[in-house]
Symmetry: C2
Subunit: 420 residues, 2 copies
């Protein structure tokens, strides 16, 4: 079996994989209240204009702005109060010259009016036997003041929410405003998760001496779920090329992609890469990524379906799952993903507390604690010690990303921290 | 009805509410693969030590470190190769003085050995008729080198994952490593969501002239879901104290907290505050928050259950939902929440591109676009225009937080951006 260990930088490795695969085409329709976090399948255009009527944005008086021109506390304008407009009803009253109508926030502006003067800038003189109610206007209202004009929020035909958007609370609100209660979203990509290793037993099993439980199936499934995919558990295959190939073919048949955690010994890695190479064209694209931990990673596409071979070490597997599998799942799910796979959503910026040594030519991920100082600035402190342990990651608040081209980071400099 | 409009800073407002309510005590057990994002109900202690046996972390030769003392390329040590250890099996071979055993990453270290020398630092001389196989060791191995010692990951009795942790992929992995397939988690708080307003109709309805659709029920439910709560839809109550009180009592009875979006006119706000004040002790705690948008917010606790009255304007409601409802739901769900309610999880740090005016004494949230420059630094550009519109938030990537004590922010300074 031929070893093709061409180590690529993580950005290039992801880009190579991304170029060889495509988003899943499937679309399904879900109720609006289940659409949060789903990826919008097509542009949603507004079928109506919002607001559909001019609305008061303050409590006060609807008036003609011209009638308040030059008004001030020293020289108020006086307007006849001819009615009252409540929310939810079409005003029956019309505002004529020299007139004002009491209006509530959210109510429809009556015809004739073109502005609302805030109640705080008025004094009301109640009606008496001698004269009708009158409002003293203590400031000039500009035309349109305190009024939300027709179409100021969205106009018929405009793109209200764009395709590819992973829906956030505000997006769901925009759809609600337009009355869209059924939402076309991308199907979630199904990601088969297969573990390998003669020493690996299921999470629920009691390991014999020299055996360990399968950690990667759980962590990778969690990363897939966070990224919007559906993890499909495929169990554990032994380090045997015939059985591994059978398990991989079954996994590929039942999913849109396969994530394999593939042991860390060179012989097992070679075995895995060899099996993957036979599954379909174009086969193995990347064998080795300049990332620590996580170098012995295999990226492949077999008959259009991506296959990611993660290192067996749980910390390495988790780092590569974040750096490569997460953007892959988002890409398959129809989200716009940067070519380098970098993901802003779970990234923080912090000040590094101590110098952090590193080797150039490699993207390092170093577990750290995060804490705010008295001024609210976020500080990252590396957790030294064995970074390849699962419980180091459990104790960590995040992972400091050391860029490829840096030979270490300096105390006091601003660093990117991945917060899974 | 008495107006008690004591405007508090958001941090103080949240702290006041938080002091008056407690986390939900309920606990349920879920399968490990459904535990992501749930809050761990009690400390999980390791029932076993991991690793339970010394493991090789590299491919190479298990040996006695002392046998390689002083070895170098110029002056190699020569050791007899007496066997081969595979992963998953207890080695039958024992390493004696002057001996080495071939070992694979992840395999159990054979008795007698105390280190592993990487295969890259060796040359193997195969067995001949004249002599057994021999390995040339080109470097000195330190005791424990390339070996994961028993208990290096976690020891029996240690807290493996702490109570109150919202489980991340790494935490799920830690539980998997320990064989914990059923996880005790806090019950999710049930948050009743009630909209009010004579002008408001259900999202699925066609508004008559002067009416608008209920946006807040959707956005608030989404924020509650993101924060780990279960939204309970309670519909729309009219602006009438008798019907509002009835609807609120029903909502409170069926949930752990109520979030009400309460119209924005002064009269409706007073009506809401008046009704809330009668629901139970201690009643209204905060009436008005120094936040823009979102000032007309009511915070109350009625017979132990929090009640949040949001402004009716969708953008205001969403900002207060992020600033107050989100940490409240997390607190009720048993997470550790800072006293000020500030939440690092959905916060970014960015460089402000242009000056941003603001009024001191008020926490401002300004919609912005986010973009990376060529060096990867994140920049925030405020989206000027009507910030009180739902579609401004749909277009925005995040909200710049202007601190309470600042009169505007300067171009080039680093700002906090809430990314919902």
């Amino acid at each position: 079996m031929q070893e093709l260990f061409t180590v690529l930088p993580p950005a290039e490795a992801f880009a190579t994989l991304a170029r060889a695969c495509s988003p899943m085409p499937g679309v399904e329709t879900v109720p609006l209240d289940a659409a949060l976090g789903r990826v919008l399948a097509s542009d949603v255009r507004a079928a109506e204009t919002l607001p559909g009527f001019p609305r008061a944005t303050m409590d006060g008086y609807a008036l003609r702005a011209a009638d308040s021109a030059g008004a001030s506390e020293q020289s108020p304008a006086y307007l006849r109060v001819t009615g009252d407009v409540h929310t939810g009803v079409v005003p029956e009253v019309r505002v004529g010259a020299g007139e004002a109508v009491r209006i509530h926030t959210g109510a429809m502006l009556p015809q004739g009016a073109d502005a609302v003067i805030m109640v705080e800038q008025t004094n009301l003189h109640a009606a008496t036997a001698a004269r009708p109610a009158e409002v003293e206007v203590l400031a000039a209202a500009a035309g349109g003041e305190n009024v939300l004009a027709i179409g100021e929020d969205v106009r018929t035909g405009a793109i209200a929410v764009p395709a590819g958007r992973r829906l956030r609370p505000a997006d769901a609100g925009g759809l609600a405003a337009l009355g869209i209660v059924r939402v076309p979203v991308r199907v979630r990509p199904r990601i088969a998760i297969l573990s390998t290793g003669d020493e690996v037993v299921a999470t629920g099993a009691q390991p014999a001496p020299a055996q360990v439980r399968d950690v990667n199936a759980t962590t990778v499934a969690a990363v897939v779920t966070q990224a919007g995919g559906i993890p499909v558990a495929c169990g554990i295959a032994p380090d045997d090329s015939v059985q591994l190939e059978r398990a991989l073919r079954a996994a590929l048949a039942g999913a849109d992609a396969v994530v394999l955690s593939a042991g860390s010994s060179v012989s097992v890695r070679d075995l895995t890469a060899g099996v993957v190479a036979q599954l379909g064209a174009p086969g193995v694209l990347v064998h080795g990524i300049a990332i620590k931990p996580g170098k012995p990673t295999v990226l492949a596409v077999c008959d259009g379906k991506p296959v990611v071979g993660l290192p067996g070490n749980p910390a390495s597997a988790l780092v590569v799952a974040w750096r490569i599998v997460r953007p892959l799942v988002r890409l398959l799910g129809g989200e716009r993903v940067d070519a380098d796979g970098l993901d802003d959503e779970r990234e923080r910026s912090a000040i590094l507390d101590v110098p952090l040594p590193s080797r150039p030519g490699r993207e390092d991920y170093v577990p750290c604690a995060l804490a705010r100082d008295a001024d609210g600035a976020l500080h990252a402190t590396p957790l030294f010690g064995a970074s390849n342990l699962i419980f180091t990651l459990v104790r960590a608040d995040g992972l400091i990303a050391v860029p490829l081209d840096r030979s270490g980071l300096d105390a006091g400099e601003r660093v990117r921290v991945i917060v899974p």
